[in-house]
Symmetry: C2
Subunit: 384 residues, 2 copies
């Protein structure tokens, strides 16, 4: 198959920042792209060969879009799976497959999948709705505290809540859910695995999410994770096992906990380029976006090693600011060695909206960590 400067067409469902960073790679290789997104101001409107405005959840819209391309991928899981299934049955290559997506989209079936395949994960119970869960708690079938998770539609911390007492149930939607044992953990880790249709598999190094000591919020994604080699090897081996069992194609980001006693438990997976892999653009021999592209086109996978240590800081809209965005002090952080801001191209900021990220690279991880802290305390995402 000739992908480069040819009539071949790659379709991408979703035109947000993940799609935008994927387009950097399709442009580099001159591979034609069609993108579908509901917003006329999607970051992928520029850089794609053809942009289509339309709903990702509407069967006909997704189906008609998919019929025009040779390979179809997505940068967001919330898409019409039935349309993907029909497209796949009609010979369009859909990567990751709708079957994988179905397994992953529902956190209940995802957890069952880990259990069935002997992949370590926190203990859990599934419930048809919150009413049934409350009954189980009242009958002492579930011990407090525990973690409530909506099985569908959760995103970026939405659909997850720690239940400490009966008051914690207030405001929860009465949807299908799971109750998961709370795990006291040392570290939250992630490993990105890539797999091609031919079965070539590679893992990226383990990254570590460093949390703010008070606010329970990820502040830095750090590669390599500052953990023992044995723990890192185990985490990569488990991620590889997850990938093999899913039989997926493309990127799979595997989020994990390192427990107090150094066990690795799989938390959840995302079948696409992932926030925890953004550092790879500057730090790795092959960025996660190029790797995803190589995978879904069944090209050889690139080297996943790092050239240098990398740390990523998310740029989110500051509280109290809405409207046309200003990146205050961005010129100050550009004055630091090894600092690269990525601006996603959203004109309007809102509190906590993901507006961009900054990567800090250095030969010395401690120096990168120092600069990352300075970056974080300097740049502000505010409005005019």
């Amino acid at each position: 198959m000739n992908y480069f400067s040819s009539d071949f067409k790659l379709g991408i469902l979703g035109g947000g920042q993940l799609g935008k960073m994927l387009l950097t790679e399709t442009r580099k290789f001159d591979i034609q792209t069609y993108v579908l997104d509901p917003s006329d101001e999607a970051p992928c409107k520029i850089g794609s060969n053809k942009f289509f405005k339309g709903s990702l959840m509407d069967f006909d819209t997704v189906y008609n879009f998919g019929k025009q391309v040779d390979v179809l991928t997505f940068e967001i899981e919330l898409v019409n799976i039935e349309a993907l299934e029909k497209l796949e049955s009609e010979g369009i290559k859909v990567y990751p497959s709708p079957k994988t997506l179905r397994l992953i989209q529902n956190k209940g079936t995802q957890k069952d999948f880990y259990t069935t395949n002997n992949i370590p994960t926190a203990a859990y119970k599934r419930f048809e709705n919150v009413t049934a869960l409350k009954t189980a708690v009242a009958n002492n079938e579930i011990a407090l505290p525990f973690v409530w998770k909506s099985t569908e539609g959760g995103y970026d911390g939405n659909g997850v809540k720690v239940i400490r007492n009966s008051d914690s149930f207030n405001g929860l939607p009465d949807v299908q859910c799971i109750a998961e044992t709370m795990i006291p953990f040392k570290n939250e880790l992630a490993v990105i695995v890539t797999r091609t249709p031919s079965g070539e598999i590679k893992t990226y190094p383990v990254v570590e999410m460093e949390f703010h000591p008070e606010a329970n919020q990820v502040e830095y994604v750090i590669c390599p994770a500052r953990i023992d080699d044995a723990v890192a090897e185990n985490a990569r081996a488990i991620a590889l096992k997850v990938s093999e069992h899913f039989n997926h194609v493309g990127l799979l980001a595997v989020e994990m906990f390192q427990t107090e006693d150094d066990r690795i438990l799989v938390n959840e997976v995302a079948p696409r380029p992932h926030n925890s892999g953004h550092y790879s653009i500057e730090a790795s021999y092959t960025s996660q976006f190029e790797q995803h592209l190589r995978a879904i086109l069944d090209l050889p996978l690139g080297n996943t090693d790092s050239k240098v240590a990398g740390i990523m800081v998310n740029l989110v809209g500051e509280e109290g600011y809405s409207g046309n965005v200003i990146y205050e002090n961005i010129e100050k952080i550009l004055g630091q060695d090894g600092v690269t801001p990525h601006i996603y191209g959203k004109k309007e900021t809102r509190p906590f909206r993901k507006m961009g990220h900054v990567t800090i690279v250095n030969q010395d991880i401690a120096e990168a960590r120092r600069v990352a802290q300075e970056v974080k305390s300097t740049i502000r995402v505010i409005s005019q």
Copy 2:
């Protein structure tokens, strides 16, 4: 000035591969771009915010284009300078300035400039036309052999010829020219210098052009150059001096000869991103394209050090093939560690047309060099 996700507009004259790689950086920073190019199939048609088809040599076209932007730059020197001068006089920031461009565009004034400023360069004489040059040769005022260079319009080896005897004059256009002493040199080197309007200056490491042992053609651009530290330091110091005297803004690629006795002579300069800096996309902390953008926007310059050794191989159309391009064996080179092809997006190949380049990076420069040779002997740019 707020450049990021704002109404600020950067204009780029020329929409070829250099512009295309610059657009990767403007997209990363979400800086709006307008691009002007005569071809409707220019690589920059995708990735720019607005694309204009039109002549770069036509006064009105360039002037009217420039009036719509805040800062104007170019990826090719063959543009209408009078229009740039008028735009600059009307307050549009033009970087590099038309004054610098005028000095550089004519190889005669460029050579005079080096002489005036005590910058080492090969001895030369200027002639109004080839007829006058022939007379000088007949009168033994110029010794054979020497290098003939057309003062204007030369590009990629056009407008340059070694004159060994009177037959060598055959076919030369009767234009303004220089006759330059032939320099027996060990190495052809280049240094990229970047300067901001505020006067911040940084040089990249010295790169080396490795020639094919028989055909007199550059095969590899290698960073760092495999030369003595003292020679490298001298080359960077001379490049810095050239930049300071030109007072230019943006990138300046300074091409130099290392003579048999280790002197450095400046050959010529290009006031824009340059083929000799393509390695920087994968190998450097800051790519030459990001650096050019930082410079013309008067942002702090990035770190010019390399993370790893980098080697670049040009992908040019193979002799005997014209038409819709095929990159034969590209999947094979993708299977090698640290190999990144850049495909410029020209649908049709022609003999010697620049269609792309491949960067090879590695911690070990000897290993990079080995892989580069394998890449060069594997990939072929042919037609369907």
